[in-house]
């Protein structure tokens, strides 16, 4: 029933991906990745995965766009043909003929598609994902969690709480490290200013 929405969304996804690959303006490419994130999040929503769609919309469309723009502001806009960098920097040109990469990509794609044939059909009740974890998760999570209706949240935040805590700590540490690397370190001479982690400049 949702086909009339799913098919145009997938077509738009493909068109956006081709545009990202072909467009030469990096600024516009960042914009198109934002569009891509919105579209894929909508598709995940239609596939009944609102939590994944939530993450995709927040991270893919929000944070990644801003990070990409920050990267763009740190790098030159155009591909530098010749300039201050020596010619050795561009020694590794893409090969002239596109046939060999095309062949490799085609073979890899065929292998991946062949791999999906072994997967159970979408929504198959006998699929391992429906059968393998004990149904007790579904049965017990509501009384265990004092009536929390979402089993995914119960598993993620309570049964695997320490796991999630560890993952969050890792991501937090990585974020702090990235901020420390990217911060402006050619500070003005005021030593008290250079101590600030947020890199505020006068």
């Amino acid at each position: 029933m949702m086909d009339f929405i799913v098919i145009p969304i997938l077509a738009l996804l493909a068109a956006t991906a081709v545009t990202v690959a072909r467009i030469r303006n990096l600024w516009a490419a960042v914009m198109f990745t934002g569009i891509y994130s919105f579209l894929s999040a909508s598709w995940m929503l239609i596939l009944d995965a609102p939590d994944v769609a939530f993450t995709e919309a927040a991270v893919g469309a929000g944070i990644t766009t801003i990070l990409m723009l920050a990267t763009l502001s740190l790098t030159p806009r155009r591909h530098r043909k010749s300039g201050r960098l020596s010619s050795e920097d561009f020694e590794e040109r893409p090969s002239k003929s596109p046939l060999f990469p095309l062949l490799i990509v085609t073979i890899t794609g065929c292998a991946l598609v062949y791999g999906t044939f072994d997967m159970p059909h979408f929504g198959d009740p006998n699929a391992p994902i429906q059968v393998y974890p004990q149904p007790s998760f579904v049965e017990k999570s509501q009384p265990d969690m004092h009536g929390l209706p979402n089993v995914v949240t119960a598993v993620l935040a309570s049964y695997r709480g320490y796991d999630t805590l560890g993952e969050t700590a890792v991501i937090f540490t990585a974020g702090i490290a990235v901020l420390l690397i990217l911060r402006k370190n050619t500070d003005d001479q005021g030593s008290s200013e250079s101590q600030s982690v947020t890199g505020e400049n006068a």
Binding site: P8, A28, V30, G34, R183, K184
Partner: protein, 112 residues
Amino acid sequence: MDLLLAVAETNSSFDNALVVTSVAILVTMILALIRAMLGPTVFDRVLALNMFGTKTVLLICVIGFLTGRTDFLDLALLYSLMNFIGMVALLRFSEYGSFREEGADIGSSAKS
């Protein structure tokens, strides 16, 4: 909202109206994407992107009513927030060329 949902469950012509609405939104999305691809200036692209985000929010709302799931509306809210933040970041970048003004931004680390 509950009234609308009740109407949607009982009335099939309301359902048809939702289908027509979503098709119209999809056509608008395609047009906006074409404008974003062609757009000669930065501002054409910004407008097209903004419109695309708005249409996504609308489409999610319509899908929520089609399938009778009102929790999609929260997601639509989040999408519109993300659209706004992304738009502010894009415009800031296109005006200043970096985020270095008013250092509280995430890109305040940009070299000067």
